[in-house]
């Protein structure tokens, strides 16, 4: 028997496990997935929880239920990966698992403790995150009865999971306070280390003007050094200060600690990965999927999905002795909630920044790109169902894995 071990049962790990379970002959291949937690979170749904739009039950499922019965699942933290000996050591029972191929899908973790002042007494009183279920729920309880003041949303450093989520939070907060009738008592500021609202120039411009329309102030090039929870002030490395009444932080992200313990990551615990084949740069029988890579594309579920789509056929070639094809193009797409029952959509890859147009069918859409619309909002809401029932199961979605320029307006011209 040959063995594939998948570390991590998040979006990437679950999808790849289910796809491989269907593709690999069960009498030859044993597929083992290891994760320390029995719970799978629909992380894009965390955004809606602070505004009472989703409840915990909408975003939580038992991990085992989402995995094909042919996948062996072990719930245990991983102590170390030993690539030179083709084995991983589990914390539970202190046992070694040997592998023929290893797929690392260990994702990213949040490190609020690395910003001085974030995690003191003010944590979950006047300082919150919404990238964890607990954080999003605590923030929801506060927002429901908040009487107004200065709401500051701060991104500590890039890269982060879903780089549009802080913008979506700002848009939804603006809508939420308007619904509650206290909009005029609230000032909303987004303080970001980026030079504008988003990482890519065209989208940054469009999203920047939408933020301005809604009266949301953007403070660019803001690198937070520390938070003073008593004075309620954010301080940057170059001595700018931003006072706040309510701080929503997107803490520092790093790869899983097992990557550091195994000595196979960069300074932020991301695994150096070939950007087109997804093979670990330094190991020929290790692949890296999802947020665990050091690739220059967004850390997002859509990226994990497109990676799995191109990885699986490539892996089937590889185990037959054929070379890997450079098929991954960095494809990402994201709905961006903008409040008031609308959303925008962006679609991009390593080379092509988000452009206006229609997606996925050229001219027909139904989803307009880089522009607000109601249909995009319904697309985002529908997506939760698609995630649980289609995407994680590894069923085919009628979307090409590689980005297409068809339907995109290269010069920004076209029907607005």
């Amino acid at each position: 028997m040959k063995r594939v071990i998948i570390l991590g049962g998040g979006t990437a790990g679950t999808m790849v496990a289910n796809r491989l379970a269907r593709e690999l002959a069960p009498d030859v291949w044993r597929i083992t997935l290891v994760d320390e937690s029995k719970v799978h979170y629909y992380q894009p749904g965390f955004l809606f929880i602070p505004f009472g739009l989703y409840k915990a039950r909408d975003v939580v499922r038992p991990r085992r239920d989402l995995l094909d019965p042919r996948v062996e699942v072990i719930f245990s933290p991983v102590e170390v990966i030993e690539p030179d000996r083709n084995r991983v050591r589990l914390q539970q029972g202190q046992r070694w698992l040997p592998y023929d191929f290893l797929i690392i899908a260990t994702g990213v973790r949040l490190f609020p403790q690395e910003t001085p002042g974030l995690m003191g007494e003010a944590w979950q009183r006047s300082i919150f995150d919404f990238y964890t279920l607990e954080g999003a729920q605590a923030l929801g309880r506060t927002l429901a009865r908040w009487e107004g003041g200065h709401l500051v949303i701060n991104i500590v450093d890039m890269p982060i999971k879903c780089p549009v989520a802080p913008l979506e939070f700002a848009f939804l907060a603006e809508w939420f306070f308007t619904q509650r009738g206290i909009r005029e008592k609230v000032k909303i500021t987004l303080a970001t280390p980026l030079s504008g609202a988003f990482t890519k120039p065209r989208a940054s411009e469009v999203l920047g003007s939408l933020l301005a329309e809604r009266g949301i102030e953007v403070v660019p090039d803001f690198y937070v050094e520390a938070v003073d929870p008593d004075r309620r002030v954010l301080r940057s490395f170059d001595e700018q200060e931003i006072p706040f009444d309510l701080l929503v932080t997107v803490p520092l992200h790093k790869g899983d600690a097992v990557i550091a313990r195994s000595g196979i990551g960069d300074g932020l615990n991301y695994v150096p990965t070939d950007k087109h084949t997804l093979k670990a740069k330094h190991f020929d029988n290790i692949f890296v999927l999802g947020d665990a890579t050091d690739l220059p594309t967004s850390k997002a579920g859509s990226v994990a999905h497109f990676q799995v789509e191109v990885f699986v056929p490539n892996f089937l070639r590889y185990i037959e002795g054929l070379e890997l094809l450079p098929t991954f193009d960095g494809h990402a797409n994201c709905y961006i909630e903008t409040g008031y029952g609308k959303a925008a959509l962006i679609d991009f890859n390593y080379e092509v920044e988000p452009l206006p147009g229609m997606y996925p069918l050229p001219g027909l859409g139904p989803f307009p790109l880089l522009r607000e619309s109601r249909v995009n909002h319904w697309g985002k809401l529908l997506f939760r169902w698609v995630y649980w029932h289609v995407l994680l199961k590894g069923k085919e979605l009628p979307l090409p894995a590689q980005m297409s320029l068809a339907g995109k307006w290269l010069n920004g011209a076209g029907g607005r």
Partner: protein, 103 residues
């Protein structure tokens, strides 16, 4: 050399970064720095050289945390040398692409 002269000699992308890092010269760095309001000192050059060497070795530009960790420069000092987004600023002056941490 002024920034206008730079843009006539070498191609810059829409964000003002050199399209081809091989076309970089120390004179171009001086001109781009001047445009950013920075006068280059030996300390600036130490960081510029590190960023270029890092790019040549890894094929990508270092992020803020990579510069401070690997060169041992305090973050505070880096912000004094290259105000407002030092990783981007030093990459631009060093003629290498915008750091990929920003995606």
């Amino acid at each position: 050399m002024t920034a206008q002269v730079v843009s006539k000699q070498v191609a810059l992308n829409e964000e003002g970064f050199l399209v081809n890092p091989a076309e970089w010269t120390p004179e171009i760095a001086e001109a781009l720095a001047r445009e950013e309001g920075i006068t280059l000192t030996p300390r600036h050059w130490e960081i510029i050289r590190f960023v270029r060497a890092y790019y040549q070795e890894h094929g990508k530009s270092p992020t803020l945390r990579q510069i401070t960790a690997e060169l041992g420069v305090p973050t505070k000092e880096l912000f004094q040398l290259f105000p407002k987004g030092p990783a981007k600023k030093v990459a631009r002056i060093a003629g290498v692409p915008k750091p990929e941490g920003c995606v």
